[in-house]
Structures are given as C-alpha cells and as structure tokens.
Amino acid sequence: MYKENLLTGFTHDQTFPSSDRPTERPLLQAKRLSKEYLSKNRTLRVFEDIDLEVRPHEVVCLLGASGCGKSSLLTALAGLNPASGGQILFDGKPLNKPDARLSLVFQDPCLLPWLNVRQNTAFALTLSGGPKLTRHEIQAQTDTALQWVGLQSFAHVYPDQLSGGMAQRVSLARALVRSPEILLMDEPFSALDAITRLSMQELLLGLIARRRNAVVLVTHDIDEALMLGDRILLMGGAPGRIVREWKISLAQPRGQRLHELVETRMAILEALAQVAGGHLLPDGRVI
C-alpha cells in the first residue's frame, strides 16, 4: 500500500476571485426541479421546487443533512436520474442524459480493479461518447491529468495498492481528463481522514484555479463548504428544498483565513439548526 503524498505540487500563490458574475450566462440551470419515487405504492417526493444556477468557473456547495435529497439532486443534474418535474438546462439546452461536458466524482473512488491508474484515468477517453482521439493523444491527455493530481509516477499501480486519498485523486483525474466544463462532486472527501481531506481540498482548489472548471460540490461539512465554495446553498426539509444561500466573497486561498468567515459559519450553523434539527453534530457537521 502506497502512502498518501501530501505534497500536491500546487502552490496557492495565485488568488482567483469568488463568484460575483451576475451578468455571465449560467452554465447549468435547474428550474422548479422535483423528483419523486414510487415506493410500496407510496409516492416519495425527494426534492421539489429546486431553482439553481451555476455560472462558469463558479464553485457551488450544496450543504444539507443526510436524506435531504442533495445526492439525488446531483445525479439528476448529471443526467443520470431523470427529474419528475421541472427542467435542467446545460449551456441553454435541455439536459436529459449524461453529457461528456459534465463529469461526476463519486463519494467512493469507484475505480475499476482490473485497470491500473493510467487505464482508469484514460477510461473515459477510450469510450465512443467523446471525441475520437489517437493513441498518442489519449496518452498525452492521461499523462497531463495524472500530473495534475500528482500521480504520474503511480501510473502502473492497480487500485488495490492505493490509499483512499490516492484512489480519490485517480477518480478526480478520470473526471478531469475529458476537460469537462462542470465537475459534479458527491461528497468526494467524506470518507477520507482529516489530513488527507485537507490535502485533497487544496488539490481541488489548485485544479479549479488552473483548469477554471465550474464545480457543484455536495457536502455535509460546513468548513469544507466555506473553504471551497463561492456560493453555499443550504438544502433542508422533506421533501428537500434550497432554503438559504450565502455568497462567500473571501478570495482564495482561504486555508489560513477561515476565521474571517466565522460570522457566516455561525449563520449557517443557526440555519442548519433550524432545518436539520437533530441531525446537527456539535462540530458543525450534519448527518
């Protein structure tokens, strides 16, 4: 088992502005989105009346307690789980199925055990859904993606030899290799220990700064949302709705300046206490 390399190769000397681009056309839009399941002859409404906009290069964090429908919303936005009502627009056009310009990062790295790190990373490029690439182009793009996540020297290693953090880096490289316009991330760091999570958050910030992807990040960790998000959307209730929104104007990197967001953190905690109730943990995380 290889140990997690905490040196990501990124220096955060560059700052990039938080989202304050009201005039920019939304990249992804959800309009009055709702989702229902039929369970034992009962209709179960997971979320409803979701209005959401994600602009280019923006990081939107969806925060909420378990079961409030945030993961279902993310899979609906990824085109994997058709919504029961409302509409999703990607780049102004209806989105009804997965699109190569959107990449999903799961909570679990979900690597294919029979493929090594390079083959897992290149997997999306070898499918017919994307542009036709030569073997040389695939290799070059894969090498670049592995370089972004600092795993170029582990290209021939198989998933069962990777630590949790390294496996999640491979899944990030696999998502980035097709240069998507939006990364949809479903609690990607929740299974990692605190130090590895911090390292992964820094890595993601570096990648966002360099790649300029828009990101929708589902999380139940307030600090993670404060550290990464340009906007934080709080989901709550049953069925789930977006109940509050915060804009975070503090420039990146925020790792050493999170104390400046204490008031926002308190406001989020108070709002969470109202909507999450018993799900709220003393450290501010929600279950």
């Binding site: 994997l80 990449s103 679990d108 090594n116 999306a124 499918l127 994307g130 069962d160």
Partner: protein
Amino acid sequence: MSALPERVSGSWPAFFRIRPTGIRLSPVLPLLGIAAALLLWWLATAEALHPESILAQFAPDACFDALQRLIRTGEIVPHMAASLWRVLLSLLFALLAGIPLGLLVGMSRAVERATGPLFQFIRMISPISWMPLAVMVFGIGDAPVYFLLTIAAVWPIMLNVSSGVHAVDPRWLTLARSLCATRRETVMRIVVPAVVAHILTGIRLAIGIVWIVLVPAEMLGVSEGLGYFILDTRDRLAYSELMAAILVIGVIGYLLDLAARLLIRQWSHRREN
C-alpha cells in the same frame, strides 16, 4: 487474559488427534494418502494374497508394467491426444455458447425468468442420458461426443457467468453511464472483465464434468480416445492395460484441474504482480 480456550478447533478427543511433534507433516500428507491407497490396492489384488485369481492382473505391479509398456511403445499416446482434443474443443464450444447466454440471462431479468426453470430442468438431466438421442441425431463418430461434452460443460459456465453478472458492482454501471458509455461498451468494458473470475471458475467446474463424461461418451462408436481404449482393453481381456488406462485418466484429470486452479490463481495475482 482471553476468556477463550487456547485451542477451539479440537472437538475430537486428544486420542484421535494427529499431532506432528517437531516434524512438518503437511507436505508429506498427500504422499502418505497415495501410499495408503496403493497399499489397499495391493492388498485387494496382490497375487500372493489371492493366488490363482484373475485379480492379479489388476494388481499395482501389473498395472505399472503395462503403463510403462504403453508409454514406451506410444500405444496410448494417440488415445490421450484424441481425448484431450475433444475436451478442448468441447470447452471452446461451451464457452462460445455459455458466456453470451450467461451474460444475457444475467443482464435481463425477463430472460432470466423466462429461461430459469427450463435451464434448471435441462441442467439436471445427466448428459449420458442424451447418448441415444445424440447418436440418432448426429450419427456415429465424433459429433455426438462433442455434443455430449458440450452440453455437459455449458451449464457450469453459463450459470457462473450469470451469477457473476449479478455480482457486478452497480457503481461501475453508474460510472459507465456517467461517462456516456454505450450499452455495448458497458458490456464489453465493464461487465465482461468483471466476470472473468466467474468464467474461470465455470471453466474449472466444466473441466471436471467433461472429463467424467468423456469416458462413457467415447464409448459411442469412436475408434480413438481413452474411453474407447477402456472398451478395447476389456474386449482383449488386457486387464492390466485397463487399470493403466484408468490411472492415466485419473492423472490427466488431476492435471487439468491443477492447470485450471493455477490459471485462476495466476489471474487473481496478476494485478499484484
């Protein structure tokens, strides 16, 4: 201090337990088992114990003499080659039929429900009972043998593949969808690699069954093969050669199973290497 007893495995009284003291017996145990079997064989057939009996022709010494002669003269080699070729070809036919069938049954609940009772019904019919029908349909020669061996081998492969498909991690299928994989790509790039271990297990089970069915199947009017050779030795009253043929069948069967086990192990450890 642990509340558990130090040895929990020994429910047998100490008198019956074999306790090797100081000597590692485990590598020698298989040889001891074979030696015990040889001893029993000798006791049951030795001329010294059964004077003027036909049993002496079945005794180990007569058998090993015959085996040595059969190998030296090369008389048994074409029969071994013919049998192995039939096994190989039948396994290939069974793989060609069993893998797509297993994938189809595993991936479609409707097909699984429609074919489940039928396949279970056919599977439980001994392949040997198809013999008369096979001869009527395919005539005398190699064709009915291939049919019998294939029908014996197809079920373990098909059932293992379909259970392998059921065991495919659903997250991999979601991943494939999220990456815009086509249905064909999902099958070929996710499902098939995921069921390789199940295919290998199916092949191992199929080899065991095919090798058992081979001998009676080769009694169907063919002129080569170990099954034919058994009948031939019986007709020539060459009982020591008959025992030698039985020994050869056992050894080849063991080696085939060993090869299948090594293949599975090699595949399992390939990634680590």
